[in-house]
Amino acid sequence: MASKSTQKHTFEASLKRLEEIVSKLEQGEVPLEDSIKLYEEGLALSKSCIEKLTQAELKLKKLSKDIDGNFQFLEEESE
């Protein structure tokens, strides 16, 4: 679950950061060297966002409890 939560909201954070970079670069007040760093970061973010957005498969899991009352996720055929 830990890896899940670190992975969590990275998409949202990536999008926000990307927009931040766009507005910084558009204002054009960033020194050239920083601009190049922002540019590279922006390209990497765009790439990872696009990858995420074009991911095709929806994951469906069924929540249930085992005999001891612990939660378990059963993978479902996603129709």
């Binding site: 949202e12 927009e19 970079i21 670069l25 558009e26 601009s35 765009s46 994951k59 469906l60 939660f71």
Partner: protein, 395 residues
């Protein structure tokens, strides 16, 4: 001869009546009209149940009063469930009420209105309790029937709009007497399991009876107490449920709920590509700007100024040099003329010149003798002429 009947005490007969009545009427359902409705400060509720020809006392003990699904009033026709009890001290009997429901077509509606008013007054529907839905949920909990069309519709929409999500289905009953308990448990479990960004609770449309679980107080409270934002998605647009009022967002249908929780990835994708393009363009523009800027700098007045300054300085040096030479030569000229006049004056004083004009100079032991009185007889002297010296002796 008849036996004298044994006299019973009042207590004894009352006890028998009590036993007889309470065992015969241990569970009754009685229909009547409410009158003299009174909620005592103790919390117990007293009223009279009557019809055209008879009446009886009824009581709802304080412990049961909160379970009433509506607010009873005088004149209301109701069906009461309970048992008959005898109050020995007064020799009266009464109906010990376990539940009351209003009679008629509006029965469920009335219960609905009552619960709605009650929860509203407790603040369960207040806007300040509404949680914001996450913009990009990655794990979506769904509480619905695993076999219903609602689930199918929601999954279809999610697949179409934003398939990069994980759906955690907690299958539940969505109608029948156990549905409310099951839905309540499902909401609680999805909160407990953690990591869920948003929960959709719903089912397809149906009659008011079919949707009844979504009007249950326990479901309303489970939704209110959920830490995860909840979207209600019950039935078709005209069917509002209590769940709709208490949910953080109400969707008219399960499909609409799915549309509301995820954004359209095509739009986001277009947006990301726009951003990428903008960054790229901005970078190119910036680089060409910088190039132009460098070119301008090379041409600029300020950049060329050092050379300019150098030229100015050297010009200044030349000028100084010129000034200096003119001062010096002026001085030289002055010196020359003054030395010339000195020369004339000095040469004018040259004794040789005087001698040349015919004068002679008398010297004694190298000293010039300019007075006759300084000479004595027999002094050895020299007489200096222009062209030579003649040794002589004073007579």
């Amino acid at each position: 001869m008849a036996l004298e009947p044994v006299a019973l005490t009042v207590t004894e007969i009352t006890r028998r009546i009590k036993h007889s009545l309470e065992s015969s009427f241990s569970s009754v359902v009685v229909q009547g009209e409410i009158s003299n409705f009174k909620r005592h400060t103790s919390g117990h509720i007293y009223f009279t149940l009557k019809d055209d020809a008879a009446q009886m006392s009824a009581v709802v003990w304080r412990s049961r009063a909160p379970m009433l699904s509506f607010q009873p009033e005088d004149g209301m026709k109701v069906v009461v469930t309970g048992r008959v009890t005898v109050y020995e001290v007064r020799g009266t009997y009464q109906l010990d009420v376990s539940s009351i429901r209003p009679i008629g077509i509006g029965e469920l509606q009335m219960a609905f209105e009552y619960l709605k008013r009650k929860l509203a007054s407790e603040g369960l529907f207040d806007p300040e309790h509404k949680k914001r839905l996450p913009e990009y949920p990655e794990r979506i909990g769904i509480v619905t029937s695993p076999t219903g069309a609602a689930l199918h519709d929601m999954l279809n929409i999610l697949r179409r709009r934003f398939p990069a999500v994980e759906v955690i289905l907690r299958p539940t009953l969505v109608q029948g007497s156990d549905a409310a308990d099951d839905i309540e448990a499902a909401i609680r479990e999805l909160n407990e399991v953690g990591g869920i960004d948003v929960i959709i609770v719903g089912r397809g449309g149906g009659s008011i009876e079919d949707l009844w679980a979504f009007n249950a107080e326990r479901v309303a409270r489970a939704i209110f107490n959920s830490g995860v934002p909840i979207v209600s998605a019950v039935g078709h647009e005209i069917d509002f449920t209590i769940a709709d009022f208490v949910a953080d967002l109400r969707a008219p249908t399960p499909s609409a709920a799915a549309e509301l929780v995820v954004r359209d990835r095509a739009a986001i994708l277009a947006n990301v590509r726009d951003n990428w393009y903008t960054i790229h363009e901005a970078m190119i523009a910036m680089l060409s700007n910088r190039k132009e800027h460098v070119r301008n700098l090379l041409r600029s007045y300020s950049f060329n100024r050092p050379i300019d300054l150098l030229r100015q300085h050297s010009q200044h040096v030349d000028e100084l040099d010129r000034n200096l030479s003119s001062v010096v030569s002026h001085r030289l000229a002055l010196l020359k003329s003054s030395s010339r006049s000195l020369y004339h004056r000095i040469t004018a004083l040259n004794p040789g010149l005087v001698l040349r004009r015919g004068y002679a100079m008398v010297l004694r032991e190298g000293d010039i003798i300019s007075s006759a009185r300084r000479l004595h007889s027999n002094d050895e002297i020299e007489i200096k002429f222009n062209d030579g010296v003649v040794p002589s002796k004073v007579s």
